[in-house]
């Protein structure tokens, strides 16, 4: 099996059963990669394969030059032999031991004093001074998570694995812990792999995110790139994008450089994608923010850009914004979402059943060749 030899953690796993896996990604030293996908997408299984708790049928897990798993060579190191630290979803703290002893018990230093001193350092690293003698049941969810993080760092791991580490705490604590992790990771010079189903969390924390579905890694990249330029309609839907449609490229135009797309009864001007041949069917997306309402009282020049008509079929006020879904040409198969400030919506007298015209900004249209 081919492997990437660059420094850091390289993972390539493949199996058909019991859980289908076909995932490949790389995480450089100092980088935080987030594996994101819905429940059952194989995220936690991949993490367990990296830790050595589950063995994939075929695959490679390599840290720098050391193979932790290489099924071709018959290598499968036990978790103890892999230099990983892992924070489990429900922390898996040892319930009979204090916060301090949860850490001292895993340390290898010979003397009790050295072990205690190191454990205190780790607890202070995660801001838990003063709670050393408390048992896990006497700690809040956030404090338990910090003990779990401190314990995972006790063996000086070379790779840190975090399995949905914020899922068991309330929203305020979650945001606080996310900020703390973002701060702490600047001092952790190791690849960090975090698993979550929370897209917002992925976007906040990730240097890169890897989108998984049914055990397959569909796309890896910076969160902003994945969210704005998904590789496929599957990725677009998995990362929660609306306005995913199919169309046909009809022409590549060189002056100005645009790609023309046939969609419903419209010909849309799109961001130039010269590699797509005319006649090819593509999926395409446009973010709701790139759909611009035509003002009824004051038409502007911008309205010549991909004008599309439809009827408002959903109108939801969300704080200061309004989320609108219009059916293009009143066709329920063509629901187009846009977001407006509520004052714009009211000034234009928008509401359910109103007929409106919008522009689809050409630079906001992202074409995705179908594979």
């Amino acid at each position: 099996m081919n492997t990437d030899n660059t420094a850091g953690l390289h993972v390539h796993l493949k199996q058909a059963a019991p859980i289908s896996l076909d995932a490949e990604f790389h995480c450089a030293t100092g980088e935080l990669i987030v594996l994101v996908g819905p429940s059952g997408s194989g995220k936690s299984t991949i993490l367990r394969c990296i830790a050595g708790l589950t063995m994939a049928k075929t695959g490679v897990v390599r840290f720098n030059e050391t193979a932790w798993l290489d099924t071709d060579l018959g290598i499968h190191l036990a978790p103890q032999k892999r230099s990983v630290g892992m924070v489990f979803q429900h922390y898996a703290l040892f319930p009979h031991l204090s916060a301090l002893d949860n850490i001292t018990v895993v340390l290898n230093e010979a003397s009790r004093n050295n072990r205690e001193q190191r454990a205190r350092e780790l607890l202070s690293f995660v801001n838990l001074q003063g709670l050393e003698s408390r048992r896990p049941s006497e700690l809040s969810g956030g404090q338990q998570q910090r003990v779990a993080l401190a314990r995972s760092l006790a063996r000086d791991p070379e790779v840190l694995l975090l399995d949905e580490p914020f899922s068991a705490v309330d929203q305020i604590t979650r945001r606080k812990l996310q900020l703390e992790l973002a701060r702490l990771r600047q001092q952790l010079k190791m690849p960090i792999v975090l698993v979550t189903h929370d897209l917002d969390e992925a976007c906040i924390l990730a240097d890169r995110m890897c989108v998984l579905h049914h055990g397959r890694s569909l796309q890896a990249g910076a969160p902003a790139d994945v969210m704005s330029r998904p590789d496929s309609d599957s990725v677009a839907r998995l990362v929660g994008l609306t306005n995913v449609f199919a169309g046909e490229v009809i022409k590549q135009q060189s002056e100005p450089q645009i790609t023309l797309l046939r969609w419903a009864n419209y010909t849309l001007e799109c961001r130039h994608r010269p590699e797509i041949r005319p006649g090819e069917t593509v999926s395409w997306i446009i973010p709701p923010q790139q759909v611009i309402l035509h003002r009824r009282d004051r038409p502007s020049r911008g309205e010549r850009e991909n004008p599309v008509e439809g009827v408002i079929r959903d109108f939801v006020v969300l704080g200061g914004d309004v989320s609108i879904t219009m059916f293009v040409e009143d066709n329920p198969d063509l629901p187009l979402s846009l977001t407006l400030s509520s004052h714009v919506a009211y000034r234009n007298h928008l509401g359910m059943g109103e007929h409106i015209t919008v522009s689809l900004l050409a630079h906001g249209i992202h074409l995705m060749p179908q594979r």
Partner: protein, 223 residues
């Protein structure tokens, strides 16, 4: 009061507990942790002494230990004396009929442990032995204690199997339960009452001890 019968019962109970509890820990932990095809059958076999009439079990053990069986022949060839109606035969039978008392409390204790605790210990670099010693055992020790106490108490009180396999040889195979039976048959009610009271007090004390320990452990885990 038949002191020799009491001493024999205590000796039998001590040996049974000492041998069976480590075996119970290994079997109980394996059954709690592993899934395999014949697991239901193995669990049923272990639980069988709980539902089988002691005379039935005693009958099969008597047949299996007799000089006509391969086991009885091999034992007699090696040791030079028959297995049936001996203390060793009684001990072997005791190990078999006490198996559920040694295995089940330990198995339940291991089953109550969250599965990821062991894995967390491994991911922290702890060996399987260190994980067992420092993490698993302190969390299941009340189950092991229950197994010890139940095995000991049940051995003291067992009647049917002991009578079938060991007979009723004073000083060799006559336990306190059989001695009580003998006293009743001989109309020595006072002695039978005294020995019965001792067994009753001991059984009540051990069972109370188990319940108190289990309640304390549950309270500690809950708060």
């Amino acid at each position: 009061m038949d002191w020799s019968a009491l001493a024999l019962s205590l000796e039998l109970a001590a040996w049974t507990t000492a041998i069976l509890v480590p075996v119970g820990v290994v079997i109980g932990r394996t059954l709690a942790r592993r899934q395999f095809v014949a697991k239901g059958i193995v669990e049923a076999l272990i639980a069988l002494p709980l539902v089988l009439p002691p005379t039935v079990l005693g009958f099969y053990l008597l047949v299996a230990f007799s000089g006509a069986s391969p086991l009885g022949q091999i034992y007699e060839m090696l040791v030079g004396q028959p297995l049936v109606f001996s203390f060793q035969g009684l001990l072997l039978a005791s190990l078999i009929f006490n198996l559920p008392f040694a295995v089940q409390p330990v198995q339940r204790a291991f089953e109550s442990l969250p599965g990821d605790i062991r894995e967390a210990a491994w991911c922290c670099g702890m060996s399987s032995w260190r994980t067992f010693r420092s993490i698993e055992f302190p969390l299941v020790w009340t189950g092991v204690l229950s197994a010890m106490v139940l095995t000991f108490a049940h051995t003291l009180g067992e009647f049917g199997v002991v009578l079938m396999v060991g007979g009723n040889i004073p000083g060799e195979t006559q336990t306190i339960a059989i001695s009580i039976y003998d006293r009743v048959q001989a109309l020595q009610d006072q002695q039978a009452a005294l020995m019965s009271a001792i067994l009753l007090a001991f059984s009540f004390a051990t069972i109370s001890f188990i319940y108190i320990m289990n309640n304390r452990t549950r309270r500690r885990r809950e708060y």
